[in-house]
Symmetry: C2
Subunit: 611 residues, 2 copies
């Protein structure tokens, strides 16, 4: 099946005629051959639709990476309505992210992020509802999001790495987060070897999911793109599109095969425990050398400039997409142990390389043995059957569906868990072109929702979205447990708690304390009043406002915006937040509530008087 | 009708029973009494729905203020899908707003905004499709958005003003933008009169819509909240909820009536032309004194702590909502001239004060003589008939509809124009509570879409939305003409054009020029390549990247993200953008394309080498 042909050598139209012909036949066979659970499930539903009527709740949460806006988006699926933006690597003046003392401690001065892959923490192959983890490609970082409050609580800089892109979590338990650096650079990147790309190196990094500290890193040959983990906790892996280690585009695409790079976690941990690995001053975590022949890293040759790697819900297969080859590679997870042991060649882990179409990128699963692979160049999603592809049955292709246009990532409901349920697929399309009202030269992307519960793909909804959501998860709502009101003792408020206790006060004390040129205003908000209506300071004072929302009614958020001071933040019920700034101008500056909290919300304000 | 009662003295349940009883009868009368155009229009439609199927386009643009996120949102109506976020007062790392040289020149260091009211430019009572204008309450500014490219192109700081809140444009032609300062402060606010609130003053400001320069300001008694203009260009106006000029909440609500404050534009312009008014050093625009008895400002007494003021599409009436009174005031625009002339008392401009329900805030219009007023405390929208209210008919109330929950602004399709078409209403509800999947202590708001084309209100859709969209417009799509690709000579690129010309180069020249310690990299992007693959600089150099997207395919945007440098921006087809930064660390730093532009997008990158 795999011809290793260049994309341009394919005749798309004849290819389509052929596969579409196959697809109808394949579907008939599929239905006739015992997929009764699908038919039964479908017969229960009257309409497969994205519509959720007023007052009804969606069945799924969607967790979206936002791309260049550096945040996490929470959607409701199937309605595709956006419920929340969780600030992460970005600066967000709505919530004061990058403004409050808490967020500044996490961000450390950075305000740009480029998020691609959000994955949740797991227990025994399915989501445990505790955390989300997401990459920042722009500055090589990994962030953690608490799912109980849906807020970012930690960001870790990945040392010695640039272009941190692929990311995945341990699937057997809350353990580690693995991430891939896409760009090779000198190690360390301190001015050495600038002109010598042969010395550049890319890294695979393991971060402890609980402490968010880097455990270890591995140097590899080539580079790393997407990331995946198995279901047993034995392997992490990454695609490599630049086995050539070129620094120019033409070099990066010269080889017919690149790699699926697999990391043997047991061997690596063993080496780390034995004190192996090198260290530089930026990090205490050892760097293991996985280049060349070594016991830590396996390089499985796959065609050509591969992009996505996804693990089937039964844990048996890694599906690796060719990008510049019209094929996907089906790799046996079981055989990887033999390849590490030298019993078989790395290439012998490949069970099949079915031809799917032009520009295959990513694959989702329905839990019924079928794959849904995006075809970037064809602007299609290809539905195909893994077992048939392995057996070499010519009817492995089930259906191709036009999407609009140029799809990148794809995911299905619970796809990346053992509980993949085969209800919905979302195709994240990079171009929307004519699908929405025009909005000038910068277009929205188009996230299309596809129903698959009836055993065929049915396009349900076009969802315009701010560029560029690279990846998305669709998670059964029963797995996510949130709190409605902050516990006033939450660990988020540790800095403010110590500050207030050191002053001998409590949250919401409504006292102003001066220490030399530092002024601390410890205040409450209860609709429609701030506990302090006037704060007197002197020119040049450093002023800290600690604001506690003592309202206990759900959804009753207050804000604190200080006029002319580039300062705003929100405080939800039970929440405490603080800002510190210097009073640099004389005059009267009103602070006011920014969340419409009460009929007298507009009247909820007070004055900072700078004498 | 107006009892001037406090909210708390009302029995909500008995009030509701009474009005709901009235509402059914009123509707029957309404249909029987000649509203045939409505019935006819409704009979053409099979289903009033928010659903827009894949491949179909919405009928309306929605222009939303975003509240605390400081931007403008563009939606599609009736699907309520968000098409675009237009960065404005905020910092947005997606598009490089706050990062590019162009946006930095506009933002002048501020990164926080609090937008409330977006209004478009008009010609002859309807939208001309040229500009949007929006306030920032946090720093007293007004921004202009170009509608052809849907980007912010100017921000004006309003001098001597704090809490710039209400804003409206001239409705007769592209002329002026009027805005209200909500907070009274010393004039000027340089340290004088801090402890003397009696000397504080609030201002009404007129900004030239073409030059974005302040023309004049007017000092008023009390404060100013929402803003409106008539259809003839004679008056601007604002509600005043603090006629008491209190600085504490209890003072602000002590009077039973506050004001609708009306500005006589002819008289003010006359005074300005005569050189009247005072000036301080911050601004050349004169400040006219409109306090006390004067020819410029009319104070119409309306009950109690009013909030919204909206002008009916026929231009006849200003509807002013009581907030702490269960009434709206219907004010004759025609009679205002007589009041200014002293022929009648200001209060005689009031034609009716119909009782609507608890916490009336804002009013929308259907062009058929009906109003839709939000009732914040009742969590309802009240549909009522203006003519009947004026005549004193007891069946002026047509329908009340529950909304979820606590609605603020409301608008209807083309409501604020002479072409109000009575198809859709959107109620912007401040609380969503149980309407969506829970997302932690910070909830989305709920923008509810209501169909009104059948002559009754029908709830169609719950739209979760990031807090807190204060206001929204629904604009017929035929009025908005956008460009798909930038003209390479657009005025947006003036700074970069001069820079490149001064170097003797053209956009996309792909040359690096050094001048002392300044390095200019003038480069192109054409998928999947940057025109420059390596940029060599020395530690300490000031580096300017000028990036021109030479792709001419619509929607083919590129990005430029420089690893580890907190820098990202996008360039749409035909666009040029630039950034300037200092090279402060030695090493190799990959820059890469952030918009998935091509199958080889990931390979589209280059290196900054800092020696």
């Amino acid at each position: 099946m795999n011809k290793n042909n260049l994309v341009m050598s394919k005749d798309r139209r004849s290819f389509l005629r052929k596969t579409l012909g196959v697809s109808v036949a394949a579907a008939a066979v599929y239905f006739a051959s015992g997929a009764m659970n699908v038919v039964k499930a479908a017969s229960k539903k009257k309409v497969v639709s994205h519509v959720v009527n007023p007052g009804e709740l969606d069945k799924y949460y969607g967790f979206w990476s936002s791309g260049q806006s550096g945040e996490v988006r929470v959607l409701a699926v199937p309605s595709m309505r956006e419920l929340k933006l969780i600030p992460c690597f970005n600066y967000d003046c709505t919530n004061g992210w990058g403004i409050t003392n808490y967020s500044k401690q996490i961000l450390k001065g950075y305000t740009v992020g480029d998020t691609h892959h959000l994955h949740l923490s797991y227990n025994n192959g399915t989501y445990d509802g505790k955390f989300g983890f997401i990459n920042d490609k722009s500055t090589g970082r990994v962030a953690r999001v608490r799912l109980d409050v849906m807020e970012t609580d930690a960001i870790t800089k990945v040392p010695y790495a640039q272009g941190t892109h692929g990311l995945f979590t341990s699937r057997h338990k809350l353990d580690a987060v693995f991430c891939n650096s896409e760009f090779a650079i000198p190690l360390p990147n301190d001015g050495r070897d600038i002109e010598n790309p042969d010395k550049y190196v890319a890294l695979h990094t393991c971060i402890d999911a609980k402490t968010m500290k880097v455990r270890w890193q591995v140097m590899i040959d080539g580079n790393l793109d997407l990331c995946a983990t198995d279901y047993q906790g034995k392997y992490s892996m990454g695609t490599c599109y630049n086995s050539e280690e070129g620094v120019l585009l033409e070099d990066m695409m010269s080889a017919d095969r690149d790699h699926l790079t697999v990391f043997n976690l047991e061997k690596i941990e063993e080496a780390v425990n034995q004190g192996k690995g090198i260290k530089f001053k930026e990090s205490d975590a050892p760097i293991i050398d996985g280049r060349g022949k070594n016991p830590y890293v396996l390089y499985i040759p796959v065609p050509k400039n591969p992009h996505g790697v996804n693990i089937s819900p039964d844990g048996k297969y890694a599906i690796c997409s060719g990008k510049l080859s019209p094929t996907a590679s089906v790799i046996s997870i079981e055989k990887i142990a033999d390849a590490f042991a030298g019993k078989i060649a790395p290439k012998d882990c490949i069970l099949a390389e079915p031809e799917l179409g032009l520009g295959p990128l990513h694959t989702a699963f329905d839990g019924r043995g079928n794959c849904y692979t995006t075809l970037f160049l064809d602007s299609m999603v290809c539905m195909w059957n893994i077992d048939k592809a392995i057996k070499g049955d010519k009817d492995y292709l089930i259906q191709k569906l036009d999407v609009h246009y140029q799809p990148g990532h794809i995911n299905a409901s619970m796809s990346e868990t053992k509980d993949a349920d085969g209800n919905y697929v979302v195709s994240l399309n990079k171009f929307s072109k004519d699908r929405f009202l025009p909005v000038g030269p910068s277009y929205p992307d188009n996230d299309q929702l596809i129903g698959i519960s009836e055993g065929r793909m049915k396009l349900l909804h076009d969802g315009p979205v701010a560029p560029e959501p690279h990846d998305a998860l669709i998670v059964n709502r029963s797995l996510i447990k949130t709190v409605k009101i902050w516990n006033i003792n939450d660990r988020k408020f540790a800095y403010e708690r110590k500050l207030v206790q050191d002053l001998g006060l409590e949250f919401g004390a409504n006292k102003i304390v001066r220490k030399d040129d530092k002024v601390f205003a410890i205040m409450s908000s209860i609709a429609p009043n701030y506990g302090l209506k006037v704060i007197d300071v002197n020119l040049g004072d450093e002023v800290t406002i600690v604001q506690t929302n003592l309202d206990k009614v759900e959804d009753l958020t207050h804000g604190f915006c200080l006029s002319e001071h580039n300062l705003n933040f929100g405080v939800s019920p039970g929440e405490t937040a603080s800002v510190t700034f210097r009073a640099t101008r004389r005059g009267v500056f009103w602070y006011y509530c920014t969340w419409f909290c009460h009929a007298l919300h507009l009247e909820m304000r007070g004055r900072l008087l700078v004498h």
